[in-house]
């Protein structure tokens, strides 16, 4: 019995020494996974995922504290990309976080805008320009459609309009399957 204890503890101690050594010697800095996850998120910064922005959500996923189906702006495509990266089964968007909607862009009704700058403070990507007391405008190309500027506006002059369809940006739709031949 003594032999047993000695034999095994020797083994364990040797092992512990190596591990202690390895832990210090091969410390991995940062988590490259977060960057890779973040790169897949739409960067709308809307907070619908329940985190204050895309990067925090990415960190939460990497840390195992959030599921991959919480980003409505990214929708199915983002979920699939995340599932692929993390080797998990894709799942439908969590309805608690919202629904996947077509892309929108904020439009400020310039007649009503009082120039209070509240929307500028709310916009996470600085897509609104204008000085205090002067009317503001949304730079459409830079607006991510996150909706965050809408609630703060005291005169309700901001509308979210669907991104306009045009021929250059048009793409062929996913083929709908005739009811009978549906292969899903």
């Amino acid at each position: 019995m003594i032999i047993a204890i000695i034999a095994l503890s020797v083994l364990a101690v040797a092992f512990g020494l190596t591990l202690g050594y390895a832990a210090i010697r091969f410390k991995v800095e940062g988590d490259p996974l977060v960057d890779r996850i973040d790169a897949l998120l739409p960067q709308t910064q809307c907070g619908q995922c329940g985190f204050p922005g895309c990067r925090p959500y990415a960190e939460a996923i990497a840390g195992g504290n959030a599921d991959i189906n919480q980003c409505p702006p990214g929708g199915e495509a983002t979920i699939m990309a995340l599932a692929d990266l993390l080797d998990r089964d894709p799942k439908p968007l969590n309805p608690e976080n919202g629904q996947e909607k077509s892309k929108t862009v904020a439009i400020i009704d310039e007649m009503r805008c009082i120039g209070c700058t509240l929307c500028i403070q709310a916009c996470p990507v600085d897509a609104i320009v204008g000085a205090a007391k002067h009317m503001h405008t949304v730079i459409a190309e830079e607006c991510t459609g996150c909706n965050l500027c809408v609630p703060p506006c005291p005169v309700d002059c901001i509308d979210m309009a669907p991104v306009k369809q045009n021929i250059l940006a048009w793409k062929w739709p996913y083929p709908e399957q005739k009811a009978a031949g549906r292969t899903t």
């Binding site: 709308t44 600085d126 083929p175 549906r182």
Partner: protein, 541 residues
């Protein structure tokens, strides 16, 4: 063929033999239709940047007057196709698979059809190729074979590339379409004129005119027209769809394969459509810009199928009614042929530069799609594909939106010829899946760029806020130390605490607000159709 040495021809993989239906529209000669009530000229009838309007509403324009000029290298101007008044500049429905509208210039013809002054080139051999190209550019000539690529670019071989062969594409492999056939029968001399000019511009050694062996009249007519020209040969190629596609045609004629992502130019060939050559002839020798083209009006719903020389901008329904067309019998109306053309959403759309055919098909011409069955991987599609792709695999991966995998299977080499869908026993709309996947890849790339931009802006904003905060903090510290110095620290601390308190309440409120929005705001949005269909599918599973 008599006396002609049979030229060695090569083959390409695959191809199909759809029923031709060509004879119906070759019974009568090319006619000119009546002047229409309205001419609608889209600014974007070609590949590249849309043209830019140079007239105003209310202006009176002459036939052949440039009303929109080219912007950028790949672009083409638009000319008034008759004289009249500009009555509108704005969105109007155009022939496009999306059924969407786009910017157009609308002209009300004055009935005089008065030309702007012609300025033909006296002797094209004496002017530099670049000047020649500029004339062609200003004449608004784009490829009439279907793609609408500005032709002057093609006529510029660049500094180092040698063009050995000019290929004239008179293959016209699509069923129903006969505009090139009729053009070759009736206006071979114009094509000959075009060939001379283009050859001169390119300094091409030889010229091959390819015609499928189901168009013997055109073959004979072209042979007569080019007789006596040095190193010009009319080549009869076996009928096989999609031989008209330039890469496949170059392979058949020269045995060379245009490399992927490459142009015919890479193998020393330039390929132009016979109609384009005729248009070049007109531009140089007659000084006429591209304002009309030959359009095949055919299909079961047309009483007298024929070819018309149509002014660009003429509404198609007017053409149909002049050929005894019965719009009520139309099952599908297609611009182009049944293999590559697209279905139109309405019948009053204008003819544009790339409209080679208006097919008013009845149910018997084009029976409605049969129900789609699952792919049985039979490989018929792969056998038919002229590019030697594996459509069944492309389909499998586009269906699951696996965009990396489709690219591994060379999605972007697909020329969307439809041969695969044509032979598929399961009636799968393969080409549509491929188009969808291509579009999706492009969109995702665009979105990726956009989100990258958003991230950068967000980060810089975050940094700015931090910096501002730090600055404020520094200021506060300064103030505080100043206060300390004057023995008023207590008040300062109180103030700071109060500020902190305020900040906290603000933050809490913001959080609550966010919470609330997450609770309600996001769900009220109406469900779009896509998600609804998905749900109903789910239900039935």
């Amino acid at each position: 063929m008599i006396g002609a040495i049979r030229r060695q021809l090569w083959t390409f993989h695959g191809g199909v033999h759809p029923v031709q239906h060509k004879h119906v529209s070759t019974q009568s000669p090319i006619r000119r239709p009546r002047l229409p009530q309205r001419i609608v000229l889209p600014l974007h009838q070609h590949i590249g940047e849309p043209a830019e309007v140079v007239v105003k509403v209310g202006d009176h324009v002459l036939k052949g007057q440039m009303i929109a000029h080219a912007t950028g290298y790949v672009s083409a101007p638009v000319h008034a196709s008759t004289s009249g008044k500009v009555v509108d500049i704005g969105e109007a429905p155009i022939p496009h698979p999306s059924g969407l509208s786009a910017s157009c210039i609308v002209i009300e013809p004055d009935g005089e059809d008065r030309w702007i002054e012609h300025s033909p080139v006296e002797n094209y051999r004496e002017i530099a190729p670049s000047a020649l190209r500029n004339i062609i550019r200003e004449a608004g000539i784009v490829g009439l074979g279907g793609a609408g690529f500005p032709s002057y670019i093609k006529l510029n071989p660049g500094h180092h590339k040698m063009v050995k062969t000019l290929v004239l594409n008179g293959v016209e492999c699509e069923p129903f379409i006969t505009c090139d056939d009729m053009l070759m029968r009736e206006r071979a001399d114009m094509i000959r004129g075009g060939i001379e000019i283009i050859r001169h511009a390119l300094q091409a050694e030889e010229c091959l005119i390819a015609i499928e062996d189901n168009k013997t009249a055109a073959f004979e007519s072209m042979r007569k027209a080019v007789a006596g020209m040095d190193k010009v040969e009319v080549v009869q190629v076996p009928t096989l769809y999609p031989q008209g596609s330039e890469k496949q045609l170059v392979r058949v004629l020269t045995g060379k394969e245009v490399p992927r992502d490459g142009l015919c130019l890479n193998v020393g060939v330039v390929c132009v459509n016979v109609g384009t050559a005729a248009a070049v002839h007109r531009a140089i020798h007659l000084g006429e810009p591209l304002i009309s083209r030959i359009v095949t009006i055919t299909g079961g719903a047309v009483g007298q199928p024929c070819n018309l020389e149509v002014l660009i901008g003429t509404p198609m329904n007017e053409l149909l009614s002049q050929c005894d067309g019965d719009i009520s019998r139309i099952e599908r109306m297609i611009m182009g042929g049944p293999m590559m053309g697209f279905a139109l959403h309405r019948s009053d759309l204008p003819v544009i530069k790339t409209t080679n055919c208006v097919l008013a098909a009845t149910v018997t011409d084009l029976p409605p799609a049969r129900p789609v069955m699952p792919c049985i991987r039979c490989g018929a599609c792969a056998d038919a594909c002229p590019v030697n792709l594996l459509p069944q695999q492309l389909y499998w991966h586009s269906k699951t939106k696996d965009l990396d995998k489709v690219q591994e299977y060379d999605l972007f080499d697909c020329i969307e010829c439809g041969a695969c869908s044509y032979v598929c026993p399961s009636n799968i709309p393969l080409v549509q899946y491929f188009r969808y996947a291509k579009g999706d890849i492009w969109t995702r790339e665009r979105e990726k760029e956009k989100s990258e931009l958003a991230r950068k802006r967000h980060e810089s904003r975050q940094k700015r806020l931090e910096r501002e905060k730090a600055e404020r903090e520094a200021k506060r510290q300064q103030k505080k130390s100043a206060l300390d110095a004057t023995g008023m620290a207590e008040k300062g601390q109180e103030e700071a605490a109060a500020a902190l308190q305020r900040a906290e309440t603000r933050r809490d409120a913001a959080l609550r607000e966010a919470e609330k929005r997450r609770g309600e705001g996001w769900q009220e949005g109406t469900k779009d159709d896509a998600s609804r269909t998905r749900e109903s599918e789910r239900d039935s599973n």
